[in-house]
Amino acid sequence: MSRMRSNPVDRSRVALGALLTVLIISGIVGMAEWLRPHAGDPDRVVVNESLAADPRLALNCPEPQAREGRRPRGAPRLPTAVTSGELLDCPTTWDGRTVRYSGELIGAVLQRREGAWLQVNDDEYAHGLGPLPSHPNLRGGNAGIGVWIPRTLIDRIQTLGGPRQQGDVVELTGVYHRVDPHSREVAIIRATDLRVLISGGPATAPVAPRRVVTAIVLGSIAAGFLIAQWRQRRRFRR
């Protein structure tokens, strides 16, 4: 049997409840913004500097993009130093060409029988800024390319980038493949030479004294409420 509806909540009370909810959410957001690293830092920059990442920008490739039924022509002589953005924006241009590429080693050296796979990023964090959150500049996502190196080059690698760690910044020379004929990997460089330009090392973690106090205060309140809830349940069961 359906419950009789005789007492709908007054709209003003609903509005008050909604306002209270908005205030609570605003409080949570405000607290989080206050606690975030580099909060209030006038040097904090939030912009995506790697313009090649904006998909609206027209590509300017010496070779046309891949399209059904269209065969790529031979391209004119090209400079060898490239970025990952250029390789991914114009893959048919660079396919099979020797290139120079520099960036930060990331993650792991995946050793195989004849060599190893690397991930090399050439975004803003790799070239000068350093990893987040050691600085306040948010420069968008990562950009990079997979690289295959022969075993003879593995020992040159010292440090890999990761959490709180800047990896070696390296310059490598090799052939870019749209699809590597040996490994069947997509968009990779088969390197023949690698040299470390800047050795990696630990990145500083920002100090966060406010967090300790906030965590203790909120944690104590939460613990108090949990105890109160547990007691209420015990009384309820009796």
Partner: protein, 501 residues
Amino acid sequence: MLFRPDRIDFRLIGFYTGRVVWGVGLAMLIPATFAFAIGEINEGLAFLIGSSVALIVGVLSSLTLRTRAPLRTTHGLATVALAWLTAPLPAAIPLLLSGHYASYLDAYFEAMSGFATIGLTLANDLDHLARSVNLWRHLMQFMGGQGIVVVVLTIFASGGGQVGTLYTGEGREEKIVPNVISTARFIWKVALVYASLGTTLLWSALLVAGLQPLSAAYHAVNLFMSAFDTGGFSIHSSSAAFYRSPVVEAVLMVLMLAGAFSFALHYQLWRNRVDELGRNIETRTLALSLLTLFTVMCIGLARTETFTEFGSLFRVGFFQVVSAHTTTGLSTVPGRLFVTDWGMLAPAMLVAAMAIGGMAGSTAGGIKAIRVGVLAKGLRGDIRRVLLPENAAVVETYHSTTRQVLRSEQVRQAAMLLVLFLLLYLGGGILGLFYGYDMELALFESTAAASSAGLSVGLVRPDLEWPLKVVYIAQMVIGRLEFVSIFALAGYVVSIVRGRV
């Protein structure tokens, strides 16, 4: 008719929403413990703060809104919608405090992308993100894939019979066993069995790929949650391509497909009814769709001469189409190449695969294979009625656990949801046009968000226009909950304003 809600309606919806937030708060203690254990103190404190906020809100609602009133269907639906909108609020706190997100909106987007198992990310410098924060991103996908409402109310308890209405509100229609709590616990059992096997297999494959044992274990745990719950988050910005391993890709494909299978199908397989795989309308639809879309994709990629030999074409293309069709979003190809090197036909097949999605009652999103299968059967029935004599009785049947007669009501419901999903995909695409993106990019990304697929051509990035971020968030939750819960919540809001619906 839905009248203006009274106090009991608010108490019910608020109470159960608070329980879900409370559960999210408890879940955050897992990455908090991990963070302190590995020396990520700042992140550990951030998780404690987020957890405390969630627990305070959850306990307060429990203490002040507790009621014995029965939970009706409309309450359950509205609760699910509100819980899904509320849960990312505290979950976003440790993300923002990590220093990798530009604003609270970005962190909320990431949290919603996690719970709704989308996989689109707004993280800045993901490759240097703290390990505990990365674990939390993947854990959100695990919780969301199982259904956060069901997670909390079955594991943390006393939902009792009330859980039934909440279960259906999360887009699950089929009860595998008569009791909803038992159904939810079976879902967990399947997930944990796959977790043990899948993580072990992945760990082995990652060791062979060249990772160190501890690192391989960490990657395996996170990759499993991403693949089985068809989420698509990855530890590194290069996604599954980071591992450069056909073995890892093969294990991931098995897990993605397992995640896209309905839990009802898993129950049949659990009971050794392997023939269900060949007879079930959804597996047939999924298989046919995969094969067709993959074939057309191969034709497209051959025409662009992106791949010149079948081995590489099969390895890369099949992984991508499985990832899209299961709405996972893991990728072995940089997303930019879909635009610059894959022509038009192959990316279009990925869009179609994402749009269709996986099976109903699975962790996958999209329109769902059952609806596509039912519509196809309905169409076949209509064609037969036209061709056969007027007095011929045409009965279409389909097999889903048992043989069932196809009713016109089922065809109508499937058609309605198909139209709603297509409108959702198109709506986000049109807004993308407004901001200057090409139609194919806008439609690709909109479909990825609304179908919870998460493959990206680069449109979703940290400096994306904020209205698009808001729209994609809305698409994520609407697509994940399959409209009905959102309509119920909207109905309550309208009834507050108008006095009735």
